[in-house]
């Protein structure tokens, strides 16, 4: 595949992302009315109407207050369903002493003053753990500036003044000034670098289940997603790309397509994704239906580059053939080989997990308006306004300053919207045709074109001492690599931290631990999926530990706790899980329970799954208990919702279809074959949050996912005596 090497930009590595995720933009700007934020057409699309803020004073880039007292808080973390539209502004509002229902919340669009790459993105469960102190400081700084402005006006000591309900009050005299009255003066003051933060005991919002301000707009049809963005004169585009990924466009004939009423143009367009370039033909029309009809009438010749022979059966076989390969050493403690060789009891097992799609309910889409002066404006559902700005600038070869991004509500993300290929498609098309262009993918496009979560296979080996203790444990991951499919600078000689994620991080006190990575090439684009590789490797890791417990004749919970003797978060979490799940209470015949836990970059959670054999001979998932360890919690109800969602997503990935290939293309193209969990399949979920303080704040969005599949498979074993070592598995055919 030929491409301009200058355009071949690396997908920002997970490591770089995680580093940046902990550092939201720390720069404070001063002065009146950041006009670049204002008066843009996004106002017509925003979740909340009436955003006219022509004379708003900017206390920090995140806090704007106009003379009427209307406060606008800028939220750098896109809302993809995880609740950052409430939880992040709440961090500012708590310290600013304003109620969230009185402020307007707006999304930042990648502007420099809100921080560099990845600081305006959502992923890695990083919004709260990365921004908790930073965003509180933003609010506290603005509060101190307003108090200082008031004390100056009254000519009284700062110490005699305090803020409450968007008002500064002089305690001795009872005099009051509203934030609106103070904003202009306050904005001229220097921003305190180390403002005094509130004592958590005085919190009125943080730690409480405050209703989300986006929810009312999501029950009346008013919330505006990328899909809903419109500008005058825009054309709708549907793009025909080869379902055999990696094919080249030979020629196309649009004569019939152009005859469809409403179809305006047919043009070539490139899909850019990391090192990958995919050619396609866009049909542009007055309405989306016409674009779809035109696309159907299009005749395209592809050169499949031999990729049409690719199929999952052979690829999976090739991974199994790598079972004995040495691979690259990841984690190494003690001497696994020697201990394993000499141990009285040994176990080996092979685990398999599938490729899956992200399938957010809102298909990929973007609206781009390229203007003759090389400026471009985009409206897009994305997990990072900064990512869109940067990627569009690179692909169009313009300065990022020329790119304005309006971040809309996301109809789901799950990692898919960390890749901005759909945004650059719209940008390229708008530049080509000289009109605003809205690209809308079909569900078939979304399901069949990737990027996908990688499949991972795991070769497990373990050894028990004579008294049944786990003394050696090896996890060898055999898989394609996310980074290798996106970057042409991938180094196969180095351990792939993303593909070994979490395997060396569990707190189990096993003296001889070895992790290895065996890489396998693939031409299919792969990317992060909610909880990344933990979503697959935890299955092998925690099921195999169950196998060891069984071999040792021990209870799976007791076996784990015997390996967690030190005072760790993992031990506290598991102890709590044992208690809340009623682990020691016997279950009736035909029922079983299983346990699993997982600790990784995003956080820590454990689950107990209860299943029963149903009348049709299958398995019903009755209930899931989850303990998630956070340290500090911002919105308990949001956490609960995220865990419920993670469980639904994990259950889908474990028991539905996954993505498989035949003749170079995905077998599944829509929800008929790529089935999702439905309401009657959702188990009861009971969530317990550990928020006992401490310096560490852990993530929310992802940790609820990895324990589900292994806890479920372990429960199936408990109920039926059958080991599930391959995902997905059909609950009705265990």
């Amino acid at each position: 595949m030929s491409h301009n090497p200058k355009q071949s930009e690396l997908t920002p590595s997970r490591r770089a992302f995680l580093k940046a995720a902990g550092l939201t933009g720390a720069t404070f700007a001063l002065g009146l009315s950041g006009t670049d934020l204002l008066a843009s057409p996004v106002h017509n699309l925003s979740a909340q109407p009436g955003l006219a803020q022509a004379e708003a004073a900017e206390l920090t880039p995140y806090v704007l207050i106009d003379k009427s007292g209307q406060i606008t808080l800028m939220n750098p973390r896109p809302e993809i369903g995880q609740g950052t539209y409430q939880s992040v502004p709440a961090l500012i509002a708590e310290e600013l002493e304003v109620s969230l229902d009185k402020v307007i919340i707006r999304q930042t669009g990648g502007e420099k003053k809100y921080g560099g790459m990845w600081s305006q993105a959502v992923g890695g469960s990083g919004s709260i753990r990365g921004g908790y102190t930073q965003m509180r400081k933003v609010g506290a700084s603005a509060r101190e500036m307003l108090i200082k402005a008031a004390s100056g006006q009254w000519n009284v000591p700062v110490e005699e003044c305090y803020a409450e309900n968007a008002t500064v009050i002089h305690k001795p005299s009872g005099k009051k000034l509203t934030y609106g009255q103070l904003a202009e003066t306050a904005a001229k003051l220097p921003v305190p670098k180390e403002p005094k933060l509130k004592d958590p005991k005085q919190f009125t919002m943080l730690g409480k289940s405050i209703p989300r301000p986006d929810v009312p707009t999501k029950v009346n049809g008013q919330a505006k997603f990328g899909m809903d963005a419109k500008v005058a004169g825009m054309l709708y585009a549907s793009i025909e790309r080869c379902p055999v990924l990696g094919s080249k466009l030979v020629s196309f004939d649009a004569a019939q397509a152009l005859k469809v009423k409403g179809v305006q143009k047919a043009v070539k367009v490139e899909r850019v994704m990391g090192k990958n370039r995919y050619e396609g033909v866009a049909i542009l029309a007055d309405n989306y239906w016409a674009a779809l009809q035109g696309r159907k009438a299009l005749k395209v010749q592809w050169d499949h580059q031999h990729h049409d022979t690719f199929n999952s059966v052979d690829y999976e076989k090739s991974l199994r053939n790598l079972e004995k390969a040495d691979g690259v050493v990841g984690h190494n403690a003690g001497d696994f080989d020697k201990t394993f060789a000499e141990a009285p009891t040994k176990l080996e097992a092979f685990y398999e997990t599938p490729m899956v799609s992200h399938s957010p309910m809102e298909p990929m889409n973007a609206l781009a308006h390229y203007q003759p002066d090389d400026k471009i404006e985009l409206w897009v559902s994305t997990q990072g306004g900064d990512l869109v700005k940067d990627e569009v600038a690179k692909v169009l070869k313009v300065s990022p300053d020329n790119v304005t991004v309006h971040v809309m509500f996301n109809g789901g993300g799950f990692g898919r919207r960390l890749t901005q290929d759909f945004a650059t498609e719209a940008a390229l098309l708008s530049k080509t045709v000289g009109k605003p262009v809205k690209v809308v993918w079909t569900r078939e496009d979304d399901t069949s074109l990737g990027p996908f979560r990688p499949l991972t296979f795991s070769a497990m080996r373990g050894a028990l001492s004579a008294d049944g203790k786990a003394v050696a444990f090896q996890h060898k991951v055999i898989s394609p690599s996310i980074d290798a499919t996106m970057s042409d600078k991938y180094d196969k000689t180095k351990p792939d931290g993303t593909m070994l994620e979490g395997t060396g991080e569990q707190k189990y006190e096993i003296p001889n631990l070895s992790t290895r990575y065996v890489h396998s090439d693939i031409h299919i684009p792969l990317t992060y999926w909610r909880s990344v590789t933990s979503s697959t490797v935890a299955f092998a890791h925690e099921c195999f530990l169950d196998e060891m417990a069984h071999k040792a004749g021990k209870d799976p919970m007791a076996f784990r706790l015997s390996l967690l003797t030190k005072d760790t978060d993992a031990r506290r979490m598991m102890t709590k899980l044992k208690e809340v799940s009623g682990w020691d209470k016997p279950l009736p015949a035909g029922k079983g329970r299983g346990v699993a836990q997982w600790e990784f970059f995003a956080g820590l959670a454990g689950q107990v799954v209860e299943v029963s054999k149903n009348k049709s001979g299958g398995i019903t998932v009755d209930k899931v208990y989850c303990v998630i360890d956070l340290g500090t919690v911002v919105n308990p109800d949001t956490v609960k919702a995220q865990v419920e969602g993670a469980i639904a997503m994990a259950l889908t990935a474990a028991t539905k279809d996954g993505i498989t290939f035949a003749n170079g293309r995905t077998v599944q193209t829509n929800f008929d074959a790529n089935r999702m969990l439905r309401i009657q399949e959702m188990p009861e979920v009971e969530v317990h949050i550990l928020a006992e303080g401490g310096p560490t704040i852990k993530g929310v969005g992802e940790p609820g996912l990895p324990p589900l599949a292994p806890a479920l498979a372990n429960a199936v074993f408990a109920a039926t005596g059958k080991r599930v070592r391959k995902l997905p598995f059909d609950l009705e055919k265990v």
Partner: protein, 168 residues
């Protein structure tokens, strides 16, 4: 192209469009009501659910010509101020996460509660299994339907000043 007359939320729209265009795109792109969502295009996910004479249909797979002369209701038309008991219950239980599927979920729930004012869990499963929520809000949807059912079927509360009737 032909003129198609659609009655959406009690408003009549005369549209010059392809009669084969699915109702979804007529509602979204032509009329401009964007609360109804595109999810799959093959009637598998329910995000596009609207009512045709009070019955739920998947508008992505329903030609606009077949909707002419019928009463169409979208999420924008179920209450003036977003205060239908179902909407209130959805807020009370904080059902939506990303929210993209929720218009369709609510339209399916509304049809269920019209047909079956006091649904059992099995009734809810049967009526709601055509609506996918990828965020996994299903348990909250179930709770919210029960809450809405209670409000919609309980006797209207009398104002305090009203005389008490039948008191012995």
């Amino acid at each position: 192209m032909a003129a198609v007359k659609l009655t959406i939320n009690n408003q009549v729209h005369t549209l010059d469009i392809d009669p084969q265009m699915p109702l979804l795109w007529a509602i979204r792109d032509v009329v401009g009501l964007t609360g109804t969502k595109f999810g799959c295009g093959i009637a598998q996910c329910g995000a596009c659910t609207v009512h045709l004479d009070g019955n739920p249909i998947r508008s992505c797979s329903f030609p606009v010509s077949a909707a002419a002369g019928h009463k169409i209701t979208t999420i924008e038309g179920i209450s003036k101020n977003g205060d239908h008991p179902i909407q209130k219950a959805w807020i009370e239980h904080q059902v939506p996460q990303c929210g993209y599927c929720q218009s369709g979920q609510i339209m399916s729930a509304l049809a269920l509660l019209k047909q079956t004012p006091k649904p059992t869990d099995a009734d809810i499963d049967a009526a709601m299994q055509g609506n996918i929520c990828r965020c996994g809000t299903y348990n909250r949807i179930r709770q919210a339907i029960h809450t809405a059912s209670t409000e919609m079927t309980s006797a209207p509360k009398l104002p305090k000043s009203a005389p008490k009737i039948g008191e012995r």
